[in-house]
C-alpha cells in the first residue's frame, strides 16, 4: 500500500497552532504514530535527566563567583538523590557538617538584608542553564540599592523550605531560593524563585511568595530578574511576605497538598 495511507491524519490538524497541547497527532489505527511516540519519549527522557543528572556544583560556583560574589557550598540532610525524593523533610534541613560550616563562616555577619540559596531541587538542568543569566541581571540591581548580601549558598539536594534554616543562620531579613522546579514534558528546565521574610524554622508555604516558570520559553531571564527584584523590594518595604503581601505579579507558594512544590 501507499505509505502515506498507513497513518491517519486528524481532521483537527488546522487547530494544532491554537494550543501547545498535543492535539491533532494523527493515529495508526487508534494508536499513537511512531513519530509522535518517539517525540513523547524524547520529552520524557529530558525530564528524567533533569531530575537525575548530577548537580554540577563547581560549574555553578564558578558562574556566580565570576560575577564577583563569594559562595559557600552545602548539602541538605538528604545525601543522595533517592533519599532526596523519598524524604522531603530531609531536603528541608542542612546536614550537620553544612550547618557547622555555615555557622562558622557567617558568625561575623551583621545586618544582612538578603540570603540567596541556589538549590538543585527537582531540576538540576534548570539551575545549570538559568542561574548565571538571572543572577547576572539581578545582583547589580541589588548592589545599586545597597542590599547587604550573605555569601551565596549553593545547596545540593535542597528543597524550598531550606531557606528558613539558611536565612536564620545568616541572620538575614529575607531569604531567596532559586530552585529547579518539577520538570514537565513541555519544559524540563524551569527555575522557581521563592522568597520569605524573616526566615526562621517553622515558616509555612503560606509565608512565601513565588515567581515560577523561569526558562527560555517561559518567563525569560531578564524579565525574571526584574520580577524577583520587584518582589524583594516589595517585601522589604512591607516587612512581610506570603499571603498578606500585596504584590500582584507573584503568587503565594501554597500549592495543593497533593502537589508538593519541590
Amino acid at each position: 500500500m501507499d505509505k502515506r495511507e498507513i497513518v491517519t491524519n486528524d481532521a483537527t490538524l488546522p487547530l494544532r497552532k491554537l494550543t501547545r497541547a498535543r492535539i491533532a497527532l494523527g493515529r495508526a489505527g487508534g494508536s499513537l504514530t511512531t513519530s509522535e511516540w518517539l517525540d513523547f519519549k524524547g520529552a520524557h527522557a529530558a525530564a528524567r535527566d533533569a531530575v537525575n543528572l548530577p548537580f554540577d556544583v563547581p560549574k555553578v560556583q564558578q558562574s556566580i563567583e565570576s560575577l564577583g560574589y563569594p559562595t559557600i557550598t552545602c548539602c541538605s540532610a538528604a545525601h543522595d538523590r533517592a533519599t532526596f525524593l523519598l524524604r522531603p523533610d530531609l531536603g528541608r534541613r542542612l546536614d550537620d557538617e553544612s550547618r557547622e560550616k555555615l555557622s562558622a563562616s557567617t558568625a561575623d555577619l551583621e545586618s544582612i538584608d538578603l540570603a540567596i540559596c541556589v538549590c538543585d531541587g527537582l531540576s538540576t538542568t534548570a539551575i545549570h542553564t538559568a542561574i548565571g543569566p538571572v543572577l547576572e541581571q539581578l545582583l547589580p540591581r541589588l548592589a545599586a540599592e545597597d542590599w547587604r548580601l550573605a555569601p551565596i549558598l549553593i545547596v545540593r539536594n535542597g528543597r524550598v523550605a531550606l531557606q528558613d534554616e539558611i536565612g536564620q543562620l545568616c541572620k538575614a531579613r529575607i531569604a531567596l531560593s532559586l530552585i529547579g522546579e518539577r520538570p514537565g514534558l513541555a519544559t524540563a528546565c524551569s527555575m522557581g524563585a521563592y522568597v520569605v521574610f524573616d526566615p526562621t524554622l517553622g515558616k509555612t508555604d503560606a509565608d512565601r511568595n513565588c515567581i515560577s516558570n523561569i526558562h527560555v520559553d517561559g518567563l525569560r531571564f531578564e524579565q525574571a530578574a526584574d520580577a524577583i527584584h520587584r518582589l524583594l523590594v516589595a517585601i522589604r518595604r512591607q516587612q512581610i511576605s506570603g499571603v498578606p503581601l500585596s504584590a500582584p505579579e507573584s503568587s503565594t507558594s501554597s500549592l495543593p497538598t497533593e502537589e508538593p512544590p519541590t
Binding site: 488546522p14 497541547a21 491533532a24 525524593l85 523519598l86 520538570p183 514534558l185 497538598t257 497533593e258
Partner: protein, 467 residues
C-alpha cells in the same frame, strides 16, 4: 484488648492495635515508610497479614481507627452502616471474607447488596490480603451505575473524562483540545477543566463556554470546572450553568479541613447542584477526586496507613451519590508512591475498595517526572483496570497535561482500551458519536471529516480572541 499476634517461621510477632496491624500488613509503599508506620521487614509484613486474616470483620465496627469523638468521617461511617446489608458476611474473618469474595456465587447482585454493609476499613483490610489478580477479579464483578445526561458504569462500556487543561485558561486552546478529544470519542464521563486560576471570574467564563458547547452540539454529556467547592457555590449563586460540583476529598476530618471542606459545606454544595437540576436522565451531581497520601501530606493521618485512609475518602464520597469518583493515583509524587509497581498496586486497590463500597470508580492513571515510572507502567495499570471494569479514565491530548505538568492517559489510550476489550462509550454518547460521524457502528474511529461541524465552535472564539 491485648493486641494481635502471629507466628511466622518460629518467630512470634505482636501488634498493639488494629491500626498498627493494618499499617504493617499493607503492601510496601514509600508514604507509609515516610510516616514511620510501615512493616520493618518483609516477614513482619506477612506476619501482620496472617494476624489480620484472623480478625473478625465485626472488629472494625468496634475499633474505630480514627476516634469517633474526634472525626466526623468516622461518625458518618459508623452511623451510616447498614447492619442488614452486612449480615451475610457478619460472621466472617477478614481472611474468610477474601475467600467468600472470590467464590463463583458472589455475583454482581450479591456485591451490590453488600455495599452499604461495608465500611472502608473492612474493604481496606481485605484488600491487603489480596494479590493483584484478586483485586481485578472481584472488582470486575461490581457494577456501579450513575446518571446525569448519560449512563455511566454499564457492563461493556468505558467512559472518558475529557481534560482539556491550559496553562492560562485560554478559551481557544481549551476548545481546540475539546474538539480533538471529541473526535477521538472522549468526553462521555465529563468534560472537566482544572482551571489554572482559582477566581470566580475564570470559573464563570469556563463554565459558560462548556455549557454553550454542550448545548450547541446537543452532546449527551456533562461539564465541570474543578475549582474549589466554595467558588463553585458562588458560581451557582451567580446563576452560572453548573452541571457537576467537584471537590478533592480525603479520609479524615482534619485532612478535609486542610482542603477547606467539611460535611456541612459539601452538603450545601450537593443540595445546590441538585437544585440546579441540569441532569436530563439522572441526579448524580457530584464529582470527587482523591489520592493515597493526601492525609499524611496534610499531617492528618492519625498514624493510619495511606491505603486505609484512602478507602475512607470513598465513604465520604458515598454520602453524596456522586456521578464520578477517581483517585489521581500517581500525582502525589515518589515520597508516597515511589515507582510503577507501587502506583499500579495502589490504583488496583483504590478501584477495588471504591467499587466494593458502591462508589462509581474511575482512575486517573498517572505519574510525575520525578517518580520511577513511565508509559509502560501506565499501560499496565490501564490494562489491568480495564479488565477490572473501571468506569472511566482521563483523556488528555498526547498524555501530556500542559497545565498540571504530569502525564495521564491520552485520547489514543482510550482507543487502545476500547479496541482491546471491545468497550463502547456510554450509550447516549455513543449514539451521538455515530450520528456525528465520529465513530462507526463497529465502534471504530471513522475517517476524518474535513471541516467537521464541531470546528464551527472555534469560529466565535477565534474571532474574539486577540492575536
Amino acid at each position: 484488648m491485648s493486641g494481635y499476634r502471629a507466628t511466622l517461621r518460629n518467630q512470634v510477632y505482636h501488634f498493639d492495635s488494629l491500626r498498627e496491624l493494618l499499617a504493617k500488613a499493607s503492601p510496601f509503599r514509600s508514604g507509609d515508610a515516610l510516616a514511620g508506620i510501615a512493616a520493618e521487614d518483609e516477614k513482619q509484613r506477612v506476619a501482620a497479614q496472617i494476624a489480620l486474616a484472623d480478625v473478625p470483620l465485626r472488629a472494625f465496627l468496634d475499633d474505630c481507627l480514627v476516634p469517633y469523638e474526634d472525626d466526623e468521617v468516622t461518625r458518618w461511617i459508623i452511623n451510616s452502616h447498614d447492619a442488614e446489608a452486612f449480615a451475610p458476611v457478619a460472621h466472617l474473618t477478614v481472611g474468610e471474607f477474601r475467600d467468600w469474595l472470590l467464590r463463583h456465587e458472589t455475583t454482581t447482585e450479591v456485591l451490590s447488596g453488600l455495599a452499604d454493609g461495608m465500611t472502608p476499613e473492612m474493604v481496606a483490610a481485605v484488600s491487603k490480603l489480596m494479590r493483584n489478580q484478586d483485586l481485578v477479579l472481584v472488582a470486575s464483578r461490581c457494577r456501579v451505575v450513575t446518571k446525569f445526561r448519560n449512563t455511566l458504569g454499564l457492563k461493556g462500556r468505558l467512559a472518558i473524562r475529557l481534560q482539556p487543561n491550559h496553562p492560562t485558561d485560554d478559551p481557544v486552546g481549551i476548545v481546540a483540545s475539546i474538539v480533538d478529544g471529541l473526535m477521538y470519542g472522549c468526553g462521555d464521563a465529563v468534560i472537566g477543566i482544572n482551571p489554572a486560576t482559582e477566581s470566580l471570574e475564570s470559573l464563570l467564563k469556563l463554565t459558560n463556554i462548556l455549557a454553550e458547547l454542550i448545548q450547541q452540539y446537543q452532546i449527551p454529556t456533562q461539564a465541570c470546572v474543578l475549582a474549589h467547592v466554595t467558588t463553585q457555590l458562588e458560581a451557582i449563586n451567580a446563576g452560572a450553568p453548573v452541571d457537576l460540583v467537584f471537590q478533592s476529598i480525603a479520609g479524615t476530618e482534619a485532612a478535609n479541613a486542610s482542603f477547606g471542606v467539611t460535611f456541612d459545606l459539601l452538603d450545601q454544595a450537593h443540595q445546590a447542584a441538585q437544585q440546579m437540576g441540569r441532569g436530563s436522565i439522572g441526579q448524580n451531581v457530584m464529582y470527587f477526586e482523591t489520592g493515597q497520601g493526601s492525609c499524611l501530606s496534610a499531617n492528618a493521618h492519625h498514624d493510619c496507613d495511606q491505603q486505609t485512609l484512602e478507602a475512607r475518602a470513598y465513604a465520604v464520597a458515598r454520602r453524596y451519590e456522586p456521578l464520578l469518583v477517581n483517585s489521581v493515583v500517581g500525582f502525589i509524587g515518589p515520597e508516597y508512591l515511589y515507582d510503577g509497581k507501587q502506583i499500579t498496586r495502589a490504583g488496583l486497590e483504590d478501584h477495588f475498595c471504591g467499587k466494593l463500597l458502591g462508589v462509581p470508580m474511575g482512575c486517573d492513571v498517572c505519574y510525575t517526572n520525578h517518580a520511577e515510572a513511565d508509559q509502560d507502567d501506565m499501560d499496565t495499570l490501564l490494562t489491568l483496570l480495564g479488565a477490572a471494569g473501571c468506569n472511566y479514565f482521563m483523556g488528555v491530548p498526547g498524555a501530556d497535561d500542559i497545565m498540571l505538568n504530569y502525564q495521564t492517559t491520552s485520547f489514543h489510550d482510550s482507543q487502545y482500551l476500547r479496541q482491546l476489550f471491545d468497550l463502547r462509550p456510554a450509550p447516549e454518547f455513543e449514539e451521538w458519536l455515530i450520528r456525528s460521524e465520529i465513530i462507526d457502528q463497529a465502534n471504530r474511529l471513522a475517517p476524518p471529516v474535513e471541516r467537521h461541524r464541531l470546528f464551527e465552535s472555534m469560529k466565535k472564539l477565534t474571532l474574539s480572541a486577540p492575536d
